[in-house]
């Protein structure tokens, strides 16, 4: 089930009403059934993977907690990692590995050719795998105690608002909220609805509208000039931000309706003044996961300079690989790793105070560095990415003008209206993002009378209907 579907518009209010009318001791049953139903709307058979992950980590968690034997504890942890990462590797990376083996064998003139498995990637597997892993590792590190109630633990693994695309929650934050009896909280519920509305606007109006242009230009990159490709890359930067942060907003908003708080996943990342700041504001739940469960165990900042650089680089390569089974993602991760190492070498953290003009300059530089990475993220393969970059760099061959976005006979035509609507949507996004993240603006809006607030909500809702691109398009991060 997609957040931007009519089904969800019916599903969420039903869950919401039942949730508050049920006694607390039965709520976990409702949340579990609704979460499983939510997932089964996509594919019922892949639910078994979630159930396996749930049972394994529930049991391993208890064994880890009870055992004092260091070796046994290591074996239990290894078993959990093996099952979770094994499933992830099989379903997500098997065909990628086979493809690389076949390419290598071709290069070496060997006759070896392995057949592809053509496995359908289970939606959200990377997200719930990392979530359950964090639970097991936290128990191993004696940071938390295991959950005693299997049902509640199953809800933690499969909680529908964040099941398929995060935020990747921590057990210490989410499970206690299922234990405590929570009544209806009016301000929290209202803020939840506001988040859902804003998330839908970002997804349906900004991301999906921009995707019309980005998809068509990237699909015909061979016939496009550098300006069109550059514009499409700018649009993609906002498309992916709105697609993913829109999902997170709807997830956070939906959870808030049930008086459950999920962690923030984005904080206006394109206003970052450095790449390290960008990573503290972009997909925060994943960045902090990698920090806590990979970077710090590798030694973090506590080692010598070269080891720190190595740790950073490994984290970003793995992060790239987490995003998808394609070299483009690994290169994307690698590029960000290099950026961070350079920042460390040049000591370009955000701590240094500079003038406002300097800040704007740094924001622009950081944004364009991120933009370079997005070319690899969006491209079909490395050849495609280099073709796009090569064309963008040939400035003398640019045909500047929005009319250049028209595509020939065989492809769908991008209308000028689509382009203008896309640009307009980005402008609204930037303004609202600033308003939402500056407390004084937010408080000013919330203190306005009901007429102004409701009119604003209605305008956004009408904009979603009128300017949205409808038809239940999937969220980009579902493929990860």
């Amino acid at each position: 089930m997609l957040f931007n579907s009519l089904d969800y518009l019916v599903f969420l209010p039903i869950v919401f009403i039942l949730y508050y009318y049920l006694p607390h001791r039965f709520r976990w049953i409702l949340l579990l059934l609704s979460s499983y139903y939510f997932y089964m709307c996509w594919r019922w058979d892949y639910l078994i993977l979630i159930i396996i992950s749930t049972l394994v980590d529930f049991k391993v968690g208890h064994l880890l907690f009870k055992s004092e034997d260091s070796l046994k504890r290591k074996v239990y942890l290894f078993f959990s990692l093996l099952v979770n990462l094994g499933l992830l590797a099989y379903f997500k990376y098997a065909d990628f590995i086979i493809g690389n083996i076949n390419s290598l064998s071709k290069e070496l003139n060997l006759t070896l050719e392995v057949d592809y498995l053509n496995i359908l990637l289970p939606v959200g597997i990377s997200f719930y795998t990392f979530q359950t892993l964090s639970y097991t590792i936290d128990i191993y590190n004696r940071k938390i105690e295991p959950e005693t109630h299997l049902g509640r633990f199953a809800v933690f693994v499969s909680f529908f608002p964040q099941l398929v695309a995060g935020p990747i929650e921590r057990a210490s934050h989410l499970i206690p909220q299922f234990r405590v009896k929570k009544g209806f909280n009016y301000p929290v519920a209202v803020s939840g609805l506001r988040r859902i509305l804003w998330g839908l606007f970002k997804k349906i109006v900004v991301a999906d509208r921009l995707s019309i242009i980005v998809d068509q230009i990237y699909a015909t990159s061979g016939d496009q000039n550098g300006f069109a490709l550059l514009l499409a890359t700018y649009f993609f930067a906002f498309q992916i931000y709105c697609d993913f942060s829109g999902y997170s907003d709807i997830a956070i908003g939906s959870a808030r309706l049930l008086n459950i708080s999920l962690m923030e996943n984005f904080r206006t990342p394109y206003f970052s003044r450095s790449i390290s700041e960008f990573w503290s504001r972009w997909h925060i739940s994943l960045s902090t996961w990698f920090r806590d469960y990979l970077y710090i165990p590798l030694g973090g900042n506590r080692s010598n300079r070269w080891r720190v650089f190595f740790n950073i680089y490994i984290v970003f390569l793995v992060s790239g690989l987490w995003h998808g089974a394609n070299w483009t993602f690994i290169i994307w991760g690698g590029i960000h790793g290099i950026y961070l190492i350079i920042e460390k070498v040049l000591k370009l953290g955000v701590e240094q105070k500079v003038s406002q003009g300097g800040d704007i300059f740094r924001i622009l530089i950081s944004f364009h560095l991120v933009l370079l990475g997005w070319v690899f993220f969006r491209a079909e393969n490395l050849h495609h990415a280099f073709l796009v970059l090569e064309k963008i760099c040939r400035i003398s061959e640019w045909n500047v003008g929005l009319h250049q976005l028209y595509i020939g006979d065989n492809a769908k035509v991008i209308s000028i209206a689509d382009t203008y609507l896309g640009i307009m949507a980005i402008c609204i996004l930037l303004v609202v993002d600033v308003v939402l993240h500056k407390k004084k603006f937010k408080n000013w809006f919330l203190s306005r009378n009901r007429f102004i607030r409701w009119t604003t909500y209605l305008v956004f809702a009408l904009a979603i209907v009128i300017f949205g691109y409808h038809g239940e398009t999937e969220f980009i991060y579902f493929q990860f």
Partner: protein, 317 residues
């Protein structure tokens, strides 16, 4: 919680009311646009027409069958509901509209021609049908056209979305005319009179190779079944073509075979082939262009069709 629910219901209600008002506003404007197709659709869906002979199809039928002559000669009320640039994908909803009436037509006539089966040809403004989306068969017909109209049946208020900018634009300009009280152009007629016959017989620019669409054939079959159920006689007509033009159609024989198969398969279906009729073949003064008759040609053809209708009904009696 009840306060919260009440407010959610109120704001949702206001939103739906706003959308309905915008929808009705645009619908009213579009329905009254000064455009031949829009005005004809208004007559079809809003006026209480109960023709005994219904003519459907594209511009070929619209300009070639004079409903007045047909009415006069057969003593049956005829209405030409054919529309320029249309294929069965959208005019099937017009057929459904008339067939769903308490007194459906006795005879349905339409033109059959290679382009009506063309899977790649574009339809003219399917948005002309948007004011009548409250009718299920209009939604179904638009859905069958394909992207982006397929969403019309599943997305509420889809007609208001930016993808339908032409609908919004034409509706607003119609409102402007209504407010400024601008008079509409010429009196609306169901049959279009084309006086011209000064066409270039050597201009074959619109004779392109056509791929016969399976979906179109299936839509025709479903229409015949509906007509059979309502005891409606169907007459398919291969319209006269100026002789040089006919040779240019690579699919002509294929289309005739399809029509003959329809005739064999459905007892209520008759196929009249005027494409080889000697009265028309080389008479350039009867044509507006290779495929469209002018007024003179239409008068002659309408008389011939009336005669055949009389014959058919005589036979059935």
């Amino acid at each position: 919680m009840s306060v919260f629910l009440r407010k959610v219901v109120v704001i949702s209600f206001i939103l739906i009311v706003c959308l309905c008002l915008i929808s009705e506003f645009l619908k009213y404007g579009y329905k009254h646009a000064d455009d031949h197709a829009v005005r004809k659709l208004y007559s079809i869906f809003e006026e209480d027409l109960e023709p005994e002979i219904l003519i459907l199809g594209s511009s070929i039928a619209e300009g070639a069958i004079n409903s007045n002559i047909l009415s006069e000669r057969t003593q049956m009320k005829a209405y030409n509901a054919a529309l320029s640039g249309r294929k069965i994908n959208d005019w099937i909803c017009v057929a459904d509209h008339f067939l769903s009436k308490s007194t459906p037509p006795e005879i349905v006539i339409f033109d059959i021609f290679p382009t009506v089966f063309n899977e790649h040809s574009l339809l003219y403004n399917p948005q002309d049908f948007y004011p009548y989306l409250d009718k299920t068969f209009v939604k179904e017909a638009l859905k069958s056209i394909g992207e982006p109209y397929s969403k019309i049946a599943s997305v509420p208020f889809y007609e208001l979305t930016a993808i339908n900018a032409i609908y919004v634009k034409r509706s607003l300009s119609s409102w402007k005319n209504l407010i400024l009280n601008k008079p509409k152009n010429a009196i609306h007629k169901d049959y279009i009179e084309v006086e011209s016959s000064t066409f270039n017989p050597k201009d074959f620019s619109h004779f392109k190779k056509i791929n016969i669409s399976k979906e179109s054939v299936e839509l025709y079959e479903s229409l015949f079944s509906k007509c059979e159920k309502n005891e409606v006689v169907v007459i398919m007509i291969a319209m006269p073509i100026f002789y040089i033009g006919k040779e240019k159609y690579e699919n002509w024989n294929q289309v005739v075979t399809i029509a003959m198969n329809f005739e064999k398969e459905f007892p209520n279906v008759h196929f009249l082939d005027y494409s080889n009729n000697s009265s028309f073949l080389a008479e350039s003064d009867l044509f507006a262009n290779h495929t469209h008759l002018n007024t003179k040609g239409a008068d002659l053809l309408s008389r011939l069709i009336s005669h055949r209708i009389e014959e058919l009904f005589e036979k059935s009696k």
